[in-house]
Amino acid sequence: MVVRYLGAEVQRMEDPRLLTGHGRYVDDMTMEGMLHAAFLRASHAHAKIRAIDTSRAAQLPGVHRVFTHADLGPKYGHRMNQLYPAPVIEVNKTQYPLSKDEVCYVGEAVAVVVADSRAIAEDAVALIDVDYEVLPAVVNIMNALEDGAPLAHADTSSNLMGRMRSQFGDIDDAFAKADHVFQAAFMQHRGGCHSMETRGCIGRDDPWGDGLTLWTSAQSPYLIRRALATWLGEPEERVRVVAPDVGGGFGPKAGFYPEEIVIPLLARFMERPVKWIEDRREHFMSTTTQRDQHWNLEVACTSEGKILGLRGKVTHENGAYIPYGILLPNSSLTPLPGAYAIPAVDVGVDIVFTNTVPNSPVRGAGRPCGIYAVERMIQTVSRNLGIDPAEVRRRNYVRPEQMPYETGATLRGGAKCVYDSGDYEALLEKALELADYAGFKERQAAARAEGRYLGIGVSSCIEDTGMGPYEGTTVRVEASGKVAVRTGAASQGQGHHTMIAMIVAENLGVSPEDILFESADTGKFPHGVGTIGSRVAANVGPSAFDAATKVREKALRLAAEVLEASEADLDIEDGVVRVNGAPDLSITLGELAIKLSPASAMRVPAGFDPLLEATSYDGSSGSPIACGSNVAEVEVDVGTGEVRVLRYSVAHDCGVMINPMIVHGQIVGGVVHGIGNALFERMIYDDQGQPLTTNYGEYLLPLASEMPRVDVTHMETPSPLNSLGVKGAGEGGTIPAAAAVVAAIENALTEFGVEIDYYPVDPQYLTGLIDRGAAQAAE
């Protein structure tokens, strides 16, 4: 009997280790002679540095050295690399690892102390004197492009970083022939990373041995290796980057940070390992966030609610520097037709610099914003035409018979955005059924009779997942019969080990427990891309599948020779190759591995190379498009403005599920992140660019006590784009959540005529809208 792992709820291989306190996160590591670093960070959002006096800090007992930009020397005096150059970047600003002469956001690294302990290093940081000439700061994207606005960088003439546009179909025609044109403008605010493990890294330089090694809490060790080696002007072969256990990533750990240059450099200067662990205040000030985006859209539609076109303008906050190219604004535009067959779109983005921490993707990147925008316009059409929002969606979905459906949008890398498979309307119906949408009106009326305000909101999304080009896997059977599996993809909790072990185990005929899994170490696997954009299952999945298939084929070919049987009669089960119908004839995979490369070096069987090993870079031939519909049911307390999500229902389709338990966890976690965006998470700067929200008493992450139970149902429409039929699942919960919650709030407050133009929807804002609506009703 062949054991089936794919599709089974296999308990995670990672867990026993993590449950017993035996994970290995960066700060859990220690090394002989290791020193500790702490950074002095800019206390002004924008200032010239006149002078830095480190003498008092350097004299503190326990301090080894203090470094500023100048102390790094001319060889290391240049700005950081632009990781994703793009023609639309008109002003290319990356930062210096340590500020040279100008700071452009509060939290920018200005100097660093190396000491015997972190505490001493912090003592010394307080003794560094910086003479700043404070410059005006630009903080608000809505006036950043006005004449006379303060400039985010002293040597530029405008805060415009660049412009992008997504344009397809005949937009003028769409608006010309529309029965109705409706407009809506709204601000979207997405918070920060807030992985429970902050960033952190250890650098070690061994010029006569291993070279430069950086252990870092990151999503993309290969990108960091490339960036670090390039910045240093040294060969990648001499730079090793390792992501050990990582306590959450969510996007902001996918980039390359100043500290990831400075810490290895300090190790080089000090000739000792150096550790830096970001503390939570630093995380608030120096880890990239997503922040503000303003949308002003018009929708053209028929009287029946059929949408003909969408046009408008987006203002996107970039922050002070460009750590991540234009990925964020780009991914805001690409989902623009959403789940709907909208023939014409013309939306442009102004990307503006502000004196705030650089912006980067956070779970979903720009997709939650793009989808929110489309869903808002669906709500606008529904409200103005008096058609049920679910019905407006039904009338506009891309239909299964239209697949593959080319939207007209362009994905990152220039590929056309093509919806590969899915039945969006069927998903909606499943979500509505799960949410008992039909019974809601009765629930709402019953509650209203008690003076309570219930509302329901729907949203649908598509998500381009699994972007290529590859994420390879090596599978090797070793003499013990255990199977070594290596890949570049770093895990921040997604369960890659389990997922890949299931794929390899099933294909190779071994148990997942026999898999020895290693990942995210550039010294152990030659190349990788990174864990971003819900891409790992759709890329590592196929490569693991393919590599295991190749190993299986090789094992069977060799076993056929050894057992003198036909390959067609062989099967592998529990690590043993057996001849069907001849149970005594068998050989283990370990024995086959020994035959290929005997320790006593006799000979390799003719026609074979020495290892029972294969490497594959098979992936997805395009971006599989996952999809989902969500229904939120909320209660609003009109006395306080509090919103409680009572019930949340998800129907989701990420293609074939490798491990439904893990998919479920990704969806639920993603939804809660999205509810956090909709209701809670807000990073506030004052008008001087000082971050005011720098602790977890004030930055409100979603807690168990406020979050609803999330009911999830799945459809499995296989993607035609890869061998497993899988699509990504990591962000599908987050992307549609804010739109569903906001629509539900408006629905609850229909009698007040509440229209929400900002999220997170906080109670004060909401009571303002309620009071205004009540006053208007009273007139």
Binding site: G639, G697, E698, S705, T767
Partner: protein
């Protein structure tokens, strides 16, 4: 985020604490540590000396003194919640403590620490304001008593001299028939209150005989809604009376911060005063 260096002291008596305070100019008292430790870790507070009260004998415990509850300043919030005398005599205390942080922080946090830290949003100062509690403060010249109304001097600044320590709190009894209501609005469970309200009522012969309404979180110190209290006395407990009491809260002094305006706090106070009074009236015996 490590504290700056300090010298640690672990005295065993209140006299010793006062003596240490007298000797060391820049000293902070460490009670449960649930407010001070974050400030030390973040280096907002950088004292030369930390004097730990956890080893000081006689500062913890609850005693029913007949006309009042005597609470030791170092009594943990967890122990206040579980205490039978408090549950019988002042059931609003455990109701309010459910809003104070989380069970892990209540395992360490103390009533005295909270009253001395005097965060405007803290629940315990609001309760003590409702009760007109009396605080016992020991200094070099002995013990003095401070009515709660005179305790907060300014933002997070109690009437506590640099060489004084809070040793106990006296919470006067209300009649067993009294009703109580503690309501709060915070964004999430355990968060700082945006506004909290403590209400105590007695009802005799269908009329309100006595009322205390304290509002926390709105201003730099708890506010007593004295005019509304006076207006309620003699009135029948009714939705209209409670709504009217709530409306008076729209006129309180309230602060703005980076998150909410004073106007929103006033609006919330109106809602919550009404709700707290309704709850208190429901629980008061002698109504009908």
């Amino acid at each position: 985020m490590k504290p700056a260096p300090f010298t640690y002291h672990d005295p065993t008596s209140a006299d010793e604490v006062v003596a240490l305070l007298g000797r060391h100019e820049d000293a902070k008292l460490l009670a449960g540590g649930q407010s001070l430790m974050p400030m030390l870790n973040m280096r907002f507070v950088v004292p030369d000396h930390v004097i730990d009260l956890n080893g000081v004998a006689g500062l913890a415990g609850v005693r029913d003194a007949g006309d009042a509850l005597e609470l030791g300043a170092m009594t943990r919030q967890r122990d206040l919640m579980a205490d039978a005398a408090i549950a019988a005599k002042a059931p609003i205390v455990p109701e309010a403590l459910d809003w104070v942080g989380h069970f892990q922080t209540r395992n360490r946090g103390t009533i005295g620490g909270s009253l001395c830290h005097l965060d405007p949003a803290a629940e315990l100062p609001c309760l003590m304001a409702a009760y007109d509690a009396v605080l016992k403060v020991q200094g070099p010249d002995g013990v003095r008593e401070v009515p709660f109304a005179e305790w907060p001097l300014a933002y997070m600044m109690p009437s506590l001299g640099p060489d004084e320590v809070l040793t106990g709190i006296r919470v006067p009894h209300w009649p067993d028939s009294h009703g109580h209501g503690f309501v709060e609005f915070a964004r999430r469970h355990g968060d700082f209150a945006i506004v909290s309200v403590a209400a105590l009522l007695t009802v005799e012969g269908g009329k309100i005989a006595r009322a205390a309404i304290a509002i926390g979180g709105a201003d730099v110190r708890p506010i007593r809604l004295e005019a509304a209290e006076a207006a309620l006395v003699g009135a029948a407990p009714s939705p209209d009376a409670f709504r009217a009491a709530g409306e008076t809260a729209r006129g309180i002094e309230a602060m703005s911060d980076a998150y909410v305006t004073s106007a929103y706090r006033q609006r919330l106070a109106a809602t919550l005063v009404e709700r707290a009074l309704i709850r208190a009236a429901e629980r008061a015996n002698g109504g009908a």
